[in-house]
Symmetry: C2
Subunit: 342 residues, 2 copies
Amino acid sequence: MPDTLHQPEYRKDPLSDAWVVIAAERNGRPEEFQELPVHRVGGPCPFCVGNEAVTPQEIISYPAAAGDRPWKVRVVPNKFPALVRCADMQPALVSKTFKNGTPSLFTSLRGHGGHEVIIESSRHAVSLTDLDDEELTYTFQAYRDRMRCLASEGPWKYVQVFKNVGAAAGSSIEHAHSQVMGLPAVPIRVAEELAHTKSYFNVVGRRLFESMVEEELAQQSRVVDQSDDFIAVCPYASRFPYETWILPRVAAPRFETSGDALVASLGRFTATIVDRLERTLKRPAYNYLLHSAPFDRSADDHYQWHLELFPRVTKPAGFEWGTGYYINPVSPEQAAQALRSA
Amino acid sequence: MPDTLHQPEYRKDPLSDAWVVIAAERNGRPEEFQELPVHRVGGPCPFCVGNEAVTPQEIISYPAAAGDRPWKVRVVPNKFPALVRCADMQPALVSKTFKNGTPSLFTSLRGHGGHEVIIESSRHAVSLTDLDDEELTYTFQAYRDRMRCLASEGPWKYVQVFKNVGAAAGSSIEHAHSQVMGLPAVPIRVAEELAHTKSYFNVVGRRLFESMVEEELAQQSRVVDQSDDFIAVCPYASRFPYETWILPRVAAPRFETSGDALVASLGRFTATIVDRLERTLKRPAYNYLLHSAPFDRSADDHYQWHLELFPRVTKPAGFEWGTGYYINPVSPEQAAQALRSA
């Protein structure tokens, strides 16, 4: 843990029951929260080849056993982690009392988590579409391999893989990279999806994702693209303009069980979709994330891993924060049509 | 409804059960979703005095019965509403069948809602801190009066009042304004707060907000400011850097029952807090929103209206969208200290 960080902490909001990660920089000053520029080509980039000493000790690189050949994709611990591994691996809730033995409203948990960065190229590539075929394949292999490895470590209940591209998508480093976080609990967004897919399975007797793919293919109006392994759709209730989900054709609850061929195929297909997005919207900032069933296999009968992708062209505002509803000014049907013809 | 809009529609995401408002502009083109500049001083501003004909027909203005005196605060229907009033006021769920009588996964509801704008000054004021005392008072009176009026109209279960300042906070018009939306259901974020405050009331026998104010005043570390009527705190599990909540000292579930003096006092106190924020962070973009108990009074024994305010200095990214957890790089204790000394 770098010495510029406090021990991060999970705190529970008594009003909403939501968990927040407080990961305060010790010397953080208000001026630092003005709009930060994204690291640009030209300055020393910590992720470019030759600057390996700037990152923490490498976890793994690709191709494996590269010998004298240079690395193509590299996984390192996050130098400024939002969560850090705790020595005891199972930290307890910190309960306090307020007065006269009344329990405090405020409970916390040490910020236990693994936070890694996947550097997707040794060159100063920026978007997923700047990667060559090998870099793409190794990047998506790294997603799977790190999930497998963190699953076998024991304390993690879930691993969140995600990618932020551009300042408007929350990225502070321009060089193409993704992030992987091992978490001690199944996050609330995934838990919601698990609850609804389970209840659908109990009522209808099949996976909700199978029904969704079937109905989207029958309607066609929200289908963006298809390959032998995947279909891409703008989901029926898209929260954001041009939001696109990538759904596998073959049922599989957990991404980490994917074979090499499927992982490589996902990399190529995702790059195709990002390319459609970048041609439609002139290289917008974007995020994508993988959702997968928890390691404990409790959702294996009803869940389906998938990838959710969205450009950051609108900003959630007072209405969204106040209500939890989203206002989307582009219908998914309009969005899919634009992306199809890009 | 202006003819540049489709009928807006609520759509339910079958995966998360969340509602999304699809409010598509008929001729929306991808180029329009590049970063939009905020309307600046100099161009014709639709909210400035003299341009009243540009807005839809006024709903009410302040001071009441102004006669020959000019208006100070003005309420108009939103010219580009995200939700519109439906003639039958109680539109039904649109259920479709997919094939062989199987129900479709995709359900929708016409986008029934009232969407109004409160123009907070006849001058080209920008932030809440640019308003004079009269404008402040009338603005917060308008919040209350519109909630009262919409409550009496019948079909609305909830009214969301909110304010967006600056492009990063989702605002497209610079002139100081707030928005009011009548909704046919209690939104999910409010429902979560209602559930937790109810369960707290059932277990502990008092309002969660009373306990929260008591414990915050005892600890002091997150208290930003106090007046006779209100305290301002950076909440224990702040989602955003410098997030600040304004909590009334006297229990009241619904904002629309507030008297003139309390409403004026809230306007002055909120402006003081925004001023602290603007001096700490150099006039950042910000949002605030009012949370209040639903009109049906079902939460009157356990809820408390309050105001939530946050500058937009960080951007939710892949981790936040994927997990539903927030990472906050400034502890609420650091934030409160900076705001206190501003």
